[in-house]
């Protein structure tokens, strides 16, 4: 006596995003905390020392937020005009910022008033940074120059006038106190050595450069400008390595994940893309509400902070492992472990006679009905609200099974108004789903056959039938249009393909 074989629920391919290790990692963030700033957020910088506060530059202010605070723990408001590029020194004690009024200000993080003012630029300063020896400051300005300043006596050390357009971004080397890199709107990225008078390496990005980023090893450089993100090999003298074009608007900001394995780029197209640094493929994508100007990752990827043009600062914190577990544990109280292992871990003694108990077969409700050939009841159980909405594939599998048994008509027949409207509801909901259409078409035909005599008796059923008709007509139109588009595309492809000499029509495509 073979046991009853339960109905096979077909597993349909998952639509949409594929679940990878990366999506799991980057999805593991809480809902974002949104903070309204006074203007577009142009720069975000994390303090290198714990507790890793971050400085947010927006309009004429720089706010410093704690890792979990929603209110700024500190703000610097003494700017005459729009502030730019607030950056921490490597010890987290000092903060430097440029300004539209061409003055560079140096703050003590605990104080309020600027410690030093560096005057010398003639136009807005968009780039400020500390060198790795902590005693010098690099600035870059719209007056096409970049300068090095001495912090103790606030004097200008060197001026480089090599760029021919605004300097909007740059970075200093963390390993060598003399090296720094600037990116400019003249499409070039230049590597300078403070020990010589001019740039050492010049790389042509092709678009106005909006952001540059050095890898922790400082062998590779990433530059962003226009829609492109480019990676350069500095050890090979600035040879281009990869060019990525995954955004459809200007890329404004770059960041590296804490382990250096993932590169993030933010763009005006409101997306943040995550690339794998091994093959430079996009592995994940974040969507935001507005164009993004600045992006920063906290150490250990604890939070992702994004500043947007609509002056909103969005902070996503990583979910705590324990938290998520606890929540899951609270949701369902399961019987205690003892219940499951009761009698299972008993080791039989040598003389014991083992009586094997037949394993009880667990069947789903609809399977129990199907086993007894109660076809209508089986369909009823499969049409229960929860299954119908949450797991339509189960309902589909039961309908398919009934069809296979040749008893679908019997199961569909003999329903009252409520039952029929439930059935029609399911049809309307899933009829145009390509996965279900073939089966549902037969079911719909049968329903129309069975119930055509009662059309006009119930307004509810009539309304649903009309909706179904609308749906089918609309779908037909769609399909027709799609076929037209397909035809057009085919002609285009055919004309663009080079002619082959071998008369072969093998159309190979990867699926």
């Amino acid at each position: 006596m073979a046991s009853f074989k339960p109905t096979k629920i077909q597993v349909y391919p998952k639509l949409g995003e594929k679940v990878t290790q990366d999506t799991l990692y980057w999805k593991n963030y809480k809902a974002p905390v949104q903070i309204k700033e006074f203007g577009a957020v142009t720069s975000i910088d994390f303090s290198p020392v714990t507790p890793h506060n971050f400085a947010v530059t927006a309009f004429t202010r720089i706010h410093i937020y704690g890792p979990f605070s929603q209110e700024p723990v500190k703000s610097f408001t003494r700017f005459k005009d729009t502030a730019y590029c607030g950056r921490f020194r490597s010890d987290g004690q000092l903060l430097v910022a440029g300004c539209e009024d061409s003055v560079v200000r140096l703050f003590d993080v605990s104080g309020k008033v600027a410690l030093r003012l560096f005057k010398g630029h003639t136009k807005a300063v968009h780039l400020t940074d500390f060198t790795s020896d902590r005693y010098q400051i690099l600035t870059g300005s719209d007056d096409y120059t970049c300068r090095l300043w001495d912090i103790p006596n606030a004097t200008e050390l060197t001026t480089y006038r090599e760029h021919t357009d605004y300097i909007r971004c740059g970075v200093t080397s963390k390993l060598n106190r003399d090296l720094f890199i600037t990116g400019s709107y003249d499409h070039t990225v230049k590597l300078f050595d403070a020990r010589v008078e001019k740039s050492v390496i010049t790389m042509d990005h092709g678009q106005p450069v909006e952001s540059v980023l050095l890898y922790p090893s400082e062998g590779l450089l990433v530059s962003a400008g226009g829609r492109h993100v480019k990676v350069w090999d500095l050890l090979k003298g600035g040879q281009p390595l990869v060019s990525l074009k995954n955004h459809h608007k200007t890329v404004t900001s770059l960041a590296l994940s804490s382990n250096g394995q993932r590169l993030l780029s933010a763009s005006l197209d409101r997306h943040v893309k995550v690339y794998s640094t091994t093959n430079y493929k996009v592995v994940h994508n974040f969507d935001y509400a507005a164009s993004i100007l600045s992006l920063a990752l906290a150490p250990d990827d604890e939070s992702i902070v994004v500043g947007m043009t609509n002056s909103i600062l969005s902070i996503k914190h990583r979910k705590n492992q324990e938290d998520s577990k606890e929540i899951a544990g609270q949701q369902r109280r399961r019987p205690s472990y003892r219940v499951f292992v009761k009698g299972k871990n008993y080791v039989p003694k040598q003389d014991d006679y083992l009586v094997s108990k037949p394993v009880k077969e667990h069947l789903a409700k609809y399977d129990k009905q199907l086993r007894r050939f109660n076809v209508s009841k089986a369909l009823d159980t499969a049409l229960e609200t929860w299954i119908r909405f949450r797991k339509p594939e189960i309902t589909m599998a039961v309908i398919k099974e009934l069809d296979r048994r040749g008893t679908l008509k019997n199961a569909l027949a003999g329903r009252d108004e409520r039952g029929l409207s439930q059935l029609l509801n399911f049809l309307i909901g899933n009829f145009v789903d390509a996965r279900f259409t073939p089966v549902l078409v037969t079911a719909a035909e049968m329903i129309l056959d069975i119930y055509q005599s009662i059309i006009g008796q119930s307004p509810l059923v009539d309304r649903q039938l009309l909706r179904l008709q609308d749906l089918v007509e609309k779908e037909l139109d769609y399909q027709k249009e799609l076929l037209e588009v397909l035809g057009m595309l085919d002609t285009m492809f055919a004309s663009s393909l080079p002619r082959k000499e071998v008369p072969c029509s093998g159309i190979g495509k990867l699926e």
Binding site: A2, T7, V19, Q21, R404, C504, G506, G508
Partner: protein, 834 residues
């Protein structure tokens, strides 16, 4: 054409087990059933076949226990003989020649030495009519007797054995045919007939299908075409008969059976549910559902403890008292068509083909036993006629046997074709195939062919399927795309087409570097590495129906057969036709272990076989009229051990054996004479003590015991050489076999026993004396008779005397003792007898 006398076409196992109802012996230990031209004896507990009772030359049509001796069994056959067998030893006792083909036969305890046979009536009309004839079996000791006393009982009976039954200890016999029930009373020599109307008002069919009689009561149960069971009573009156109706079955009742005590009625039909009706309380019934396939016969063991059902899928199920299936004896399932080709499982060397609906069967050719059924469809089979269900239509193994690909399809009248391609991975732990990937709707139309790439390094596995939708697709094992997925699964790698033509077949070269796909009359050759079309070959007119690459030294050849009766051989190095010949090849096969190829050609109603090498112009072997009808399924099965045949004509059978299925669904093979001799010899060697059920365990133990026996024999012969005394061994035997409680005390026997074991002295003088002694002893033997008489009169006295004699032994005393020992014997024997 040379006639090869030493290669024969033989039937190869897999005969029907469900042709006639099986018989369970009185002790419920054995089950006998007719199987082709033999009767098979199975053990009910181990499912093993113990004997095959061979001797009939026609299909066996019935097996019956001899009513007067429950250790003997009758079997009847279409060859017109009834044979009596001893089934425990598998010996033919008697053959009774009747002279007419027997379609079914019956016997009853009341009619001793009479059997009732159903045979065809000599009639001029075309439609055959059958009659029931009583045959008196002649009582003579001869092996071969001829039965001459025949008397007709009923005419116009149904040849189906279920249509006739003996009632209440053989007082009457009930027979059904069409719409008529006929009851014949032996005492009154009178028969009553009862008729049913052709159609009742609901439109059901009233035709009788089977009959059973209550063993104790006057009640006849009949089964009908519409699923009704009627219980007839009071049928010894022409008019006042009554019947009641039971209805559960929705289609024809195929078998009915009462339990020996008559308390229950068992019925079965297409639904594959065994129903047990309580006699006289018919509203109560027990069900045993899902027995696997339609029930054809039901039998109950004489003690009522075992039920046994035969099923349409060549299976016998043994059920313990309607609760538990205790054993399943499964033969090779042969449906009406084999849609998958015959295949060999590279791992188990089993023949694989589709059997039960939705299953693949693995059949061991060596042991003639079904190994297991693999459930491909994994859906509940609905036992209802006229229902379109999923069927396995294609299957393919990869070279290592690690992967199995199957295609199942369901074609409904209105709806479109449903297709599933499933890929199964072999699991080492469970030693069976586990479903890896299901691809629903892999193609838009039927799949015409499927082939795995046969590569030496099974790193990259590739499967190609061709379909009537004009495409062929390549499937490849790919790493999981989702992290949630467990392991690698199969994905489509390439879709190919050629001018919108329909691909009919595909084949990979032996090294897997080339793929040939035949698009109607064009053969396209592709490189699976780059999916580049390398070349096209064509030989119009006629679409290519079969493609094969040569093997080993002939791997440069590609062979194809066309619908217009051409066999073409292309050379792949020159891309040109090497040779072609005109023959209607139905199946082209390549031997995986040699260069040989086999072609089955259909010519004027029969099939010819040619075995050839693509490089040689002359065929290695050819045989006209291998069998009648077309052969479309065949397979080369690699042999377990190579044959060393030096004859040129049979060398092609050295490495592998060729099996094929005829149109009548008989599995045939080719054997050489040498092989047959060897087989015969091996079967003779296998001598089994038949009192024990033959299980593998028993075989092991039996062999061991046999060895021991031999060992002991040799020992005893040695012993006999050493001990010249003839009586000694006998006395020891006596001593050992006598129950301990009737023996004298051990201390008393010990000295005698030891004495008897002593070897004669080496000294020549002693030797002589010994010889004298022997002579004396012989003399003693002669006169021992009288002494025995005396001893029996007063045994106590003698016993006392011997006891006092025990300690010191002189020569005379020893002699005396020997005499005493003889006395002792008879004394014991006397005691034993009493």
């Amino acid at each position: 054409m040379v006639e090869h006398g030493d290669i024969r076409v033989v039937h190869c196992g897999g005969s029907k087990l469900n042709f006639r109802d099986p018989v369970i012996t009185h002790d419920s230990r054995f089950l006998l059933c007719a199987s082709g031209e033999a009767v098979k004896v199975f053990s009910t507990s181990t499912e093993e076949c113990i004997h095959e009772l061979r001797g009939h030359t026609g299909l066996v049509t019935g097996v019956l226990l001899r009513p007067s001796n429950h250790l003997q069994v009758y079997s009847s056959s279409l060859d017109g003989t009834v044979r009596l067998w001893d089934f425990t030893d598998g010996i033919l006792i008697k053959t009774c020649v009747i002279g007419y083909p027997i379609y079914s036969f019956y016997a009853s305890a009341k009619h001793e030495n009479v059997i009732f046979i159903v045979t065809s009536m000599p009639s001029e009309k075309r439609a055959e009519r059958f009659q029931l004839v009583a045959v008196h079996l002649p009582q003579s000791g001869d092996q071969l007797v001829e039965a001459r006393e025949l008397s007709a009982v009923l005419s116009g009976v149904n040849p189906n054995p279920a249509a006739i039954a003996f009632g209440r200890g053989g007082e009457f016999i009930a027979s059904v045919n069409d719409l008529q029930l006929e009851v014949y009373f032996f005492k009154k020599q009178k028969s009553y007939r009862f008729f049913l109307k052709e159609d009742n008002k609901k439109g059901g069919w009233n035709t009788f299908t089977c009959v059973a009689c209550h063993p104790k009561d006057d009640c006849i149960a009949t089964g009908h075409e519409d699923g009704k069971i009627r219980l007839w009573r009071n049928f010894n009156h022409k008019k006042e008969y009554t019947y009641s109706t039971l209805h559960w079955h929705h289609s024809a009742v195929s078998s009915l059976c009462f339990t020996p005590e008559g308390t229950n009625l068992l019925s079965g039909g297409v639904e594959s549910v065994l129903i047990q009706w309580r006699y006289k309380q018919e509203s109560e019934r027990d069900f045993l559902p899902r027995l696997g396939a339609a029930i054809t016969h039901i039998t109950v063991s004489p003690d009522g403890s075992l039920f046994c059902t035969s099923h349409s899928d060549n299976k016998i199920t043994i059920i313990q008292s309607c609760v538990k299936v205790s054993a399943v004896i499964q033969g090779l399932v042969k449906g009406d068509s084999i849609r998958t080709d015959l295949m060999m499982d590279p791992r188990s060397k089993a023949l694989v083909l589709n059997g039960k609906p939705g299953h693949l069967q693995f059949y061991s050719l060596q042991r003639d036993k079904l190994l297991y059924n693999l459930d491909i469809v994994q859906q509940e089979y609905i036992h209802e006629s006229g229902l379109q269900q999923f069927e396995v239509v294609k299957a393919a193994f990869d070279a290592s046997g690690l992967w199995l690909a199957t295609v199942e399809e369901r074609h409904q009248k209105a709806a479109e074709l449903e297709l599933n391609l499933k890929l199964w991975a072999f699991d080492e732990q469970t030693q069976s195939f586990v479903l890896n990937t299901t691809i629903s709707a892999p193609h838009d139309a039927q799949i015409t062919a499927m082939s795995f790439r046969q590569t030496a390094d099974s790193q990259t596995t590739l499967l190609v399927s061709t379909s009537k939708d004009g495409h062929f697709k390549a499937w490849q094992l790919a790493a999981p795309a989702h992290t949630e997925d467990e392991g690698p699964s199969w994905l489509c790698d390439f879709v190919g087409a050629y001018h919108g033509l329909v691909p009919e077949c595909c084949s990979f070269s032996a090294d897997g570097s080339l793929l040939a796909v035949a698009f109607q009359e064009v053969v396209t050759v592709w490189s699976p590495a780059t999916w580049e079309l390398l070349t096209t070959l064509s030989q119009p007119p006629g679409a290519v129906s079969d493609l094969c690459f040569g093997r080993l030294s002939c791997s440069k050849y590609l062979l194809g057969t066309t619908a217009s009766n051409l066999l073409c051989c292309w050379n792949l190095l020159t891309c040109s036709l090497e040779w072609s010949t005109s023959m209607d090849v139905r199946r082209l096969l390549v031997d995986p272990l040699s260069e040989n190829m086999a072609a089955f050609c259909y010519q004027s109603g029969s099939t010819d076989l040619f075995v050839f090498k693509p490089s040689e112009p002359r065929p290695l072997f050819s045989r006209k009229a291998v069998c009648s009808g077309k052969v479309t399924q065949a397979v080369f099965a690699p042999r377990e051990e190579m044959l060393e045949s030096c004859e040129e004509s049979s060398q092609w059978l050295n490495r592998s054996q060729l099996y094929f299925l005829t149109q009548q669904m008989d599995l045939m093979t080719f054997t050489t004479k040498a092989e047959e001799d060897r087989l015969l010899a091996s079967s003779k060697q296998l001598v089994i003590d038949d009192s024990v059920a033959m299980t593998p365990f028993y075989l092991l133990l039996g062999k061991h015991r046999q060895q021991q026996q031999e060992h002991r024999d040799s020992d005893s012969s040695l012993w006999a050489e050493r001990t010249a005394l003839p009586q000694t061994s006998a006395s020891i035997k006596e001593l050992l076999q006598t129950p301990a409680h009737v023996l004298p005390s051990t201390s008393y026997l010990c000295s005698m026993f030891v004495q008897s074991l002593l070897i004669s002295v080496s000294d020549a003088r002693e030797e002589k004396a010994h010889a004298e002694e022997e002579m004396e002893s012989e003399k003693e033997e002669e006169d021992s008779e009288e002494e025995m008489e005396s001893s029996r009169s007063k045994p106590e006295l003698v016993a006392a005397a011997t006891e006092s004699d025990a300690p010191a032994l002189t020569k005379a005393q020893a002699r005396e003792l020997r005499r005493v020992r003889k006395l002792d014997h008879s004394w014991l024997a006397g005691l034993l007898d009493s």
